[in-house]
């Protein structure tokens, strides 16, 4: 019965979203605050209805109601509760409901927004309602998660065991909140195209609204992608964290577009300039989100992470994408020439630097897009099947970003309107000198010596030091007394700290990525109990393997001792191979020994035999130097984003509404 309630709530949400759109359109035409209020009420009601549907779905999973087809296909009574709940968004249908939930909740938050002008708000609410109609209709008509099975099976087919992992339980909600957060930027952009005027005060006000949404979405997406990368790192057991796989790129493109958006929105907010460009990026970010959803689900590209693949429904997603993006960009082409934001500026200025940032980010995003879609294009054109792998991205994306990183620390130090390049050079001279020392130290410290990796280390150091140089400059470190510096640091706006942290976090990530990629050591051997595998500075001894029974799996659990080759503390890690009888699958649980910034990454492979016939296991060991920084950096970046968001809350009184998200 309660399941029918969920199905009903989902249909109700669709009707409410349609009402929301209709009343918003009518309210806009008649300039009627009553109709507008009704549209806002419908938006909130739609969010509540989807929340009820999602709650019912989680409940069905929690109590293992196998009369629901989706539960039977993705759950199992033996599963721990966390994964029963997480399975609710582990399938195509469930994740679509989550998508709709985020979309409508953000729509409701938008509907509650105060001090947004009448026309802009009602148009944005209407657009958000339209998006809700499209995605809810897709969910209700093609992917209803509440479909019943008759007769109900006794046991479910279980969730893919690889997905039964804490990082993956929380990765999709984060990722979706980020993806779909851009829908609000999208709606605000469409609203601006409908309502916009070539007016000096319109665009700064609009930028003030787009920026927090862009920041919040981008921060959530950063965390979501990082969790996904971390999951791939320790759950797949391949020793890597980013494979330039189509599905990874699909999440990375909205991230890049979002990063460009939140920078260009600053220019629009402060200077009223780049109005058309910021609008374009706002449309682009959500288009990439939808493209990502399509690429991941349609299976048009072969991916190691393919998820809930269903070509037919994927094609329908393509239709939703085509309609939404097509209409929005057509509107953009029609309206944007009439929407000059104005705001002349000199090339050497903060806004000039932000334009340059946008240029690099979008160019990099374009190379990622080309690399991701090129196999599709080539297959359609010539029939040849190819894959574009890491070497392509290493040759295109990486150099573009490297040049951008060289310029990055200068940006925040430039003044608005007219920057002083020479002054900036003087202020960054110390950081640049130190960065060169860092590169030299990196060249000396790691074996074998690699010039490119050392340059990369210098670049990471440059980003961190350059960002710190900005703080030093702002608080006049060493140029006044420490008390005065501290006072200045306290009064520095949170937004500035946010910028510094985000840029420094990027530097931390670059350091980790460069060192891990350049200097990781991999070793594999088939060893009997008591034998060792050595990788770089570490040796790993297999102490024993036992059979362990988990809640829904059987496992071969190996205890291994990790020690430095030249003596030093030894630590025990466990690495497992788990067999899940419910799906007949085997998964690898990596043993990770955190050594400062390094990881010693141990994978227990298949059981074999030594030459003498004794049992032996293939053990694979990676020494991943500085791998910790790869995952730490993005979290620092996201934290910087949150700080900037908090700053804006103080100024805009957004407190209550932001807390609701």
């Amino acid at each position: 019965m309660i399941v029918e309630l969920g199905a009903f709530a989902l249909v109700l949400a669709l009707v409410l979203s349609a009402l929301q759109t209709a009343m918003a359109v009518a309210g806009r035409m008649r300039r009627s605050p009553v109709l507008a209020g009704a549209a806002e009420g419908a938006a909130i009601a739609a969010a509540l209805a989807v929340a009820v549907a999602f709650g019912v779905l989680i409940l069905a999973f929690a109590v293992s109601d196998f009369s629901v087809a989706n539960v039977a296909a993705n759950s199992h009574t033996d599963k721990p509760m966390l994964y029963k709940v997480a399975a609710a968004w582990g399938s195509h249908e469930g994740s679509l409901v989550l998508w709709c939930l985020v979309l409508t909740v953000f729509g409701a938050v938008l509907a509650r927004a105060r001090n947004l002008s009448f026309g802009l708000k009602i148009s944005a609410v209407g657009t958000q309602g339209m998006l809700g109609v499209l995605f809810l209709a897709f969910a209700v008509f093609t992917s209803n998660p509440f479909e019943r099975l008759n007769p109900a099976p006794f046991q479910g087919a279980s969730l893919n065991p690889l997905l039964q992992d804490p990082a993956l339980a929380f990765h999709p909600p984060m990722l979706y909140a980020g993806y779909v957060g851009f829908s609000v930027c999208f709606s605000l952009a469409v609203a601006a195209l409908i309502e916009g005027r070539a007016n000096a005060s319109f665009w700064p006000a609009w930028g003030r609204w787009v920026r927090p949404w862009a920041l919040a979405s981008w921060s959530l997406l950063t965390v979501g992608i990082t969790m996904g990368a971390f999951w791939a790192y320790y759950e797949l057991g391949w020793g890597g964290w980013w494979f330039w796989d189509p599905v990874e790129n699909a999440s990375f493109m909205p991230w890049l577009a979002g990063a460009a958006l939140l920078h260009s929105a600053v220019v629009t907010e402060r200077r009223g300039a780049l109005a058309g460009w910021t609008t374009f990026l706002a449309l682009l970010a959500f288009t990439f989100s939808m493209l990502g959803a399509f690429l991941v689900r349609s299976g048009v590209l072969t991916s190691v992470h393919a998820f809930a693949v269903d070509p037919e429904r994927g094609m329908m997603l393509l239709a939703v994408l085509g309609v939404t993006a097509g209409a929005a960009f057509a509107l953009f082409a029609w309206r944007s020439p009439q929407l000059r934001g104005g705001g002349q500026f000199a090339p050497v200025s903060r806004e000039g630097a932000l334009v340059l940032n946008n240029l690099f980010l979008t160019a990099a995003c374009a190379t990622v897009l080309l690399g991701t879609l090129y196999p599709l294009i080539l297959e359609a054109a010539s029939g040849a099947t190819i894959s574009v792998g890491p070497p392509y991205f290493a040759l295109t994306f990486v150099p573009l970003m490297a040049v951008a990183f060289l310029i990055l620390p200068a940006g925040p130090l430039l003044a608005w309107k007219r920057g002083d390049l020479k002054g900036v050079g003087q202020r960054l001279a110390v950081a640049a000198g130190l960065a060169i020392l860092v590169a030299l130290a990196g060249w000396m410290a790691f074996e074998p010596r690699k010039a490119l990796s050392a340059a990369g280390i210098g670049l990471g150091g440059w980003l961190v030091l350059g960002s710190l140089a900005e703080v030093a400059e702002r608080i006049r470190l060493f140029r006044t007394g420490p008390a005065e510096s501290l006072r200045r640091a306290r009064s520095l706006p949170l937004g500035s700290w946010g910028t510094v942290l985000a840029h420094a976090g990027l530097g931390v990530f670059v350091l980790g990525a460069v060192v891990e990629t350049g200097y990781r050591v991999e070793a594999a051997r088939t060893v009997a109990v008591g034998e060792t595998v050595t990788a770089g500075r570490y040796s790993v001894r297999l102490d024993g393997v036992r059979i362990v029974e988990g809640p829904n799996y059987l496992s071969e659990r190996g205890d291994l001792t990790v020690s430095l080759r030249d003596g030093g503390a030894a630590r025990v890690v466990t690495a497992e191979r788990r067999f899940f009888p419910a799906g007949g699958q085997t998964t690898t649980e990596v043993g990770l020994d955190f050594r400062g910034l390094d990881d010693v990454y141990v994978v227990l492979g298949e059981r074999g035999q030594t030459a003498a016939g004794a049992p032996a296991w293939s053990v694979r060991v990676w020494w991943n130097p500085w791998a910790r920084l790869i995952f730490l950096g993005p979290f620092i970046m996201a934290f910087g984003g949150v700080l900037s968001l908090l700053d804006r809350r103080l100024r805009l009184g957004l407190g209550k509404r932001k807390a609701a998200t």
Partner: protein, 156 residues
């Protein structure tokens, strides 16, 4: 600088063009260069002739793992045969096979052919999906009339 346009608007446009051009040129140039050398072609065993996939060139080889062909050597070396039921290629791989690797199932191996036309894989790919059948493999099998639904053992 007298050759610069006089109006500030035109000057700004000129600056934008001056900034955009090198970045775009860099992006396009790098993309074209990378596309030439670092894309990986996919072949099924019967297509992977010596002229299409010369020894030493990195390609992807996809097909079904022939039943009963998997042999594990010492030190983690695995040999298996990949077939599209027309031709069969012997694949040697050093390392752990993905958890979803099974005889009779689809597989994609990345690596290069050796002069003796056996294949040395550097990577064996798997998906999270339990119904693992790479799309290229499925397409090739369908084209050759060798397609059968997932999970059934191939004719041998």
């Amino acid at each position: 600088m007298s050759w610069l346009p006089k109006s500030p608007k035109a000057r700004r446009r000129l600056w934008v063009v001056a900034a955009v051009t090198p970045v775009l040129a860099l992006a396009v140039g790098l993309s074209l260069y990378a596309m030439r050398d670092s894309v990986t072609f996919f072949f099924s065993p019967s297509e992977a002739t010596a002229d299409k996939a010369p020894a030493g060139r990195v390609v992807r080889l996809g097909g079904l793992v022939e039943a009963g062909s998997v042999a594990r050597g010492a030190d983690g070396e695995v040999a298996f045969a990949v077939t599209d039921n027309v031709a069969t290629t012997r694949v040697v791989y050093q390392g752990d096979l993905p958890d979803l690797f099974r005889e009779g199932q689809g597989v994609v191996a990345q690596g290069a052919f050796l002069p003796d036309r056996s294949f040395r894989a550097t990577q064996v790919l798997a998906k999270h999906d339990e119904n693992y059948m790479p799309r290229e493999v499925a397409d090739r099998l369908k084209a050759k009339g060798e397609w059968r639904p997932e999970g059934e053992a191939p004719r041998s």
